[in-house]
């Protein structure tokens, strides 16, 4: 952390506390301002009842987000949080007896927290003990839990005793203190106690720098394992709370909470990647996001604008959290001023005389390098890429063989391979964009509505005419460049975290798509585009040929161009990349533009494939686009991964889905199998034992 280098002794205790908790303090201030705005605009004054409603409204997200914060502080990532909430909800709703006179609040709270901790232990085992990547383990867990949840309860219903509601939604002190705030307060107190223990210190240490933590003797495995168990307990408590609030069970209730949970963490001042921030800010973050509902209501923002307004509020909240001398935005401003001064003084590198200032290398010239040390064999040179890319292909082979045995008509059926490639083509294109973003250590969550808006605008402009493709395609692609530029600009120059920036962009694009289409996307794909995606030349659909060209270009782009080397450089170490002269800003913006263009191409392809565009057509592609990249051997924190590996991930997941679709297994079983196979596929990717 940067504050370590500043002279601590000259800082008063108060100032130090302020600096350390800046994120949380700013989040609290933003929340206060929002409360004030709502109070000022709404008809009546803010009463205790309003406060009570607000406190129960945000409590589920706040509790779950506290758990997520702890995971993120340790350098992890947990996608199973929403699924745990659903599972606890249905377990409680199906477990309680409607005939029983009362229910023990303590017992059922214990059951909920216990279920959450059990899931956390499952996650923790694979992540801490087997050293697998958190994102892919928790993603698999998410699928498995969604299946299990549907097995427990396949539709909304069940019964949660009103006693639970009376306890959790009532007043701790009548007229003064609502119970939800007390519950959150107790959890935070427990956190403060934990933070003060050796475990708390170890947690921050592991999140800041795992290797150093291990070097000073911290049991990294144990800390990581405990983190997921504790976080699971928090999700469990959130599940208990939502059960109390709704009085019933719904197998889908928790899933939509996932993305906003990350937003709450980041808005609350916790840095993704670990080591900085804390749950207090997160609680404020969760309530800020919840307040948005009330603000939209009092401002009477039209339905079509609501996602735009939400996205903007998210960006503004994130910006407010980064106002300081050390913020990226301020640094960029100072750098721009310095560059301008240098330009006026005529000492910019580009203004200097061009002479070769490279150091002369000793020894023989480049010419006879080959004879001096023979190039190692191909498989040795690419050993690392092979190690991480191969598992996906091995699993693909297994899946194809199982398909042949179970369903028949696979290996020798050209139609099977053609379908596999056509269905894979969407994710294969997305994998380049998302994969490149992930290689730089970022994440692009704006993929769904970039796909959606591209498809809708293209279908609207083309409207069945091949000639219109000539101008519609460039328009859509240019628009995608602009979307990517906006993402990159916000991330690079305003210093907004990629998750928040792209999440906000996603919402804003959704609003634009709705406004553009007035809710009903018009138009349909032209015959040529449809031919391209669905016709057969012999046994091959034309898009398969494009896919082959695309793969070659993608491999060359990441492996053989300066752009590709810069991407890997940034992912391996931002500071090192900057010091070695990489134009980090420009490269990052290009990376996000690439991702947006890939998403737009998928939008165009999907429009051709389905013959029309629809709202929400990209929604099913966000998590898979991340999953294939990681299953293909890339490191979610950046710097490692090969496009061919990602392609293997795409083919594997698509083949698996085709196998499951061919069976008549119930959906719940399919979801569980899908999760288990993904988990199994990445077992081989686990990190080597630290030396």
């Amino acid at each position: 952390m940067s504050s370590v280098s500043s002279p601590v002794s000259t800082m008063s205790g108060l100032r130090r506390a302020l600096t350390r908790n800046r994120g949380a303090l700013i989040a609290a201030a933003v929340l206060a301002v929002l409360l004030f705005i709502v109070d000022a605009i709404s008809a009546g004054p803010l009463t205790y009842f309003d406060v009570s409603f607000l406190s129960s409204g945000g409590a589920t997200s706040a509790l779950a987000a506290i758990g997520q914060t702890i995971v993120i502080l340790s350098g992890g990532f947990d996608l199973s949080a929403g699924a745990v909430i659903s599972l606890v909800n249905v377990v409680l709703a199906s477990g309680m007896d409607p005939m029983a006179p009362g229910a023990s609040v303590l017992l059922w709270t214990g059951v909920g927290i216990g279920v959450g901790m059990a899931v956390g232990a499952f996650n923790g085992f694979f992540i801490a003990v087997l050293r697998m990547q958190p994102i892919v383990v928790t993603l698999s867990t998410m699928f498995i839990l969604q299946g299990v949840t549907l097995l427990v309860m396949d539709k909304p219903g069940g019964f949660v005793s009103p006693d639970l509601g009376t306890f959790y939604l009532g007043d701790a002190i009548t007229g003064w203190l609502p119970m939800p705030l007390v519950v959150i307060g107790v959890v935070l107190l427990a956190w403060f106690w934990l933070k003060g223990t050796r475990f708390g210190t170890a947690l921050y240490a592991v999140g800041s720098d795992t290797d150093s933590a291990a070097a000073v003797g911290i049991n990294v495995v144990l800390v990581r394992f405990a983190v997921y168990v504790i976080a699971g307990g928090c999700y469990g408590l959130a599940g208990v709370f939502i059960s109390a609030q709704t009085g019933s069970g719904d197998p889908l209730v928790g899933n939509p909470l996932l993305l906003s949970m990350f937003a709450a963490v980041v808005v609350g001042g916790t840095r993704l990647g670990g080591g900085q921030g804390g749950p207090v800010g997160t609680v404020f973050g969760a309530y800020i996001l919840m307040m948005v509902v009330n603000i939209l209501l009092v401002l009477n923002v039209s339905a079509y604008y609501s996602t735009i307004a939400e996205g903007t509020i998210l960006v503004l909240a994130a910006l407010a959290g980064s106002i300081s001398h050390a913020s990226v935005f301020a640094v960029q401003l100072r750098a721009a001023r310095a560059r301008f001064a240098a330009w006026r003084a005529g000492i910019l590198p580009s203004q200097l005389e061009r002479v070769d200032r490279r150091l002369k290398a000793n020894g023989p010239a480049h010419g006879n390098r080959n004879s001096a040390s023979p190039r190692p064999a191909l498989h040795l040179r690419n050993a690392e890429a092979l190690r991480y890319a191969l598992p996906a292909y091995v699993c693909l082979l297994v899946i194809v063989i199982v398909t042949q045995i179970w369903l028949g008509r696979a290996i020798l059926n050209p139609g099977y391979w053609n379908s596999l490639l056509v269905l894979s083509s969407f994710l294969a294109v997305l994998a380049l964009g998302q994969g490149t973003v992930i290689l730089t250590g970022g994440l692009d969550l704006s993929v769904p509505w970039t796909i959606g808006i591209s498809g809708i605008i293209l279908a609207g402009m083309v409207n069945g005419s091949d000639a219109a493709l000539l101008y519609a395609l460039p328009v859509v692609l240019v628009m995608a460049c602009a979307i990517g530029f906006a993402n990159g600009f916000g991330i690079v120059y305003l210093g907004i975290s990629p998750i928040v920036m792209t999440l906000a962009t996603n919402g804003i694009l959704q609003g634009f798509a709705l406004l553009y289409s007035q809710g009903t996307p018009a138009g349909f794909s032209s015959p040529m585009l449809r031919w391209f995606m669905t016709a057969k030349l012999g046994f091959v659909t034309p898009v398969v040929l494009l896919l082959i060209v695309f793969v070659i270009i993608a491999v060359l782009l990441l492996g053989r161009t300066p752009f590709g080397r810069r991407v890997y450089g940034i992912g391996n170490g931002l500071r090192a990349a900057r010091l070695s002269g990489i134009g980090v800003e420009r490269t990052l913006i290009l990376v996000y533009m690439l991702s947006a263009v890939c998403a737009a191409v998928v939008g165009i392809m999907l429009t051709g494939f389905s013959g029309q565009a629809s709202l929400g057509m990209g929604d099913d592609y966000l998590l898979p686009s991340i999953a294939v990249v990681v299953v293909g051997g890339a490191l979610i924190t950046g710097g490692r991964g090969h496009y061919l590996g990602m392609l293997g991930g795409v083919l594997l997941l698509t083949a698996l889905q085709m196998l499951l679709a061919g069976t008549t297994l119930p959906y719940a079983t399919r979801a569980i199998l899908y999760g288990l196979v993904v988990l199994g596929a990445v077992m081989a990717l686990r990190e080597r034992q630290p030396q």
Partner: protein, 375 residues
């Protein structure tokens, strides 16, 4: 477009919204304050339903009675709970809801009822007894379509089932009812089952997956909650002739309805596969006018009229015998029996065509397309 521009534009919009609010608050003193809490707005059905509600509220019989505010809760039940609370606090007389969950809203709805607010749920159901519900009988939908398919196949054949969103009551009721029918005929075999998420696009990818290891010739019929239009298109792509299309029991998309018209019918704007094919079909739908009807009933309830707690809408069923093309799509024309719209008027084949109700003469085709009421 830079962020700065977006931000500025938004600030402007927010400012305008504040002004609009200030004005309408003064004007609306006499009007009934009604809120609409929608779910996720990002799909075709929801947007169409929202347009129809808007049109209903702006119809001349309603405009001076109703002050309607529309809010979106997204897919998140938790947010809808808070939204309903906020609406009650803001002085709603009635709240019209597309419930994200049939059960999760019960407590907040009960709380609203206790404060004298009329709560109307459309399309899906709220199980809290004090709420008014406006929807079709989902079990009937599953049963009627399955029975049609069995009859078409003479009780024998391999079928593919494409369901909706798993874990929702609507999907559960429809699918279970249909499977009960199929179970009565031992020669009907469900050889493939996919989760279609009520989306034409998803139906296409799922069917492609199933057909990777199967052949259209092995299949005799399709039961789909959404996706018959897509299934017919895929059969044409696979080289089938229009006369060889498989019987398909499924959704009420306009594309599917147009395909049901006898092959060779002259239809303005038609282009294959969005064209008359004489496809053997039964077309049913959860009609998107239910929200508009709920709003109308809510106003009646506020005005003291007696409104039943549950309004079961007649299941809109169209078969090849009853399919009829509309010229303009006015309410009067639909009342005379037309139920499909020209592609030149509705260019999106996935658009839901079951928009007619004899209880809502205020809204016709323009209501569903752009939110304009009938005169």
């Amino acid at each position: 477009m830079g962020i700065g521009l977006k931000v500025r534009r938004l600030a402007l919009l927010a400012g305008m919204a504040v002004c609009a609010f200030g004005m309408s608050a003064a004007e609306a003193a006499e009007k009934h304050k009604i809120f609409l809490s929608m779910s996720f707005i990002g799909n075709d059905w929801q947007a169409e339903a929202a347009n129809m509600v808007k049109a209903m509220a702006s119809h001349k019989s309603m405009a001076d009675k109703v002050d309607l505010q529309v809010q979106v809760a997204g897919p998140n039940a938790q947010r809808q709970i808070q939204q309903i609370n906020a609406m009650v606090q803001a002085g709603a007389e009635a709240i019209v809801i597309f419930p994200i969950s049939p059960t999760a809203l019960n407590q907040v709805v009960k709380n609203a009822c206790d404060k004298g607010v009329k709560v109307f749920a459309y399309d899906a159901e709220i199980t809290e007894p004090c709420a008014y519900n406006v929807h079709i009988d989902q079990e009937e939908a599953g049963r009627v379509t399955a029975e049609w398919l069995v009859k078409k196949l003479n009780g024998k054949g391999n079928i593919i089932a494409v369901t909706g969103v798993p874990g929702t009551s609507v999907d559960d009721l429809r699918t279970k009812a249909a499977k009960e029918v199929f179970a009565k005929y031992p020669d009907i075999k469900i050889v493939g089952e996919a989760v279609g998420m009520w989306s034409q696009a998803v139906a296409r990818t799922e069917l492609s997956k199933i057909l990777a290891t199967r052949n259209w010739n092995d299949i005799n019929g399709l039961w789909m909650q959404v996706g018959c239009f897509t299934a017919n298109s895929m059969q044409l792509e696979a080289g089938k002739k229009a006369s060889e299309l498989l019987p398909c029991a499924g959704e009420g998309s306009n594309g599917g309805r147009i395909q049901m018209l006898p092959e060779g019918t002259e239809v303005e704007g038609a282009a294959s596969p969005y064209a008359p094919l004489g496809a053997p079909r039964i077309s049913y739908a959860s009609p998107p006018y239910s929200g508009a009807l709920a709003l109308k009933l809510a106003v009646e309830a506020i005005e003291g009229k007696d409104v039943p707690k549950t309004t079961i809408l007649p299941l809109p069923v169209v078969t090849n015998e009853t399919i009829k093309l509309c010229n303009e799509g006015s309410w009067a024309e639909m009342k005379a029996g037309c139920n499909a719209f020209k592609p030149s008027l509705v260019s999106n084949p996935g658009w839901f065509a079951s928009i007619f109700s004899d209880q809502t003469p205020e809204i016709g085709l323009n209501a569903a397309l752009v939110g304009q009421p009938e005169n």
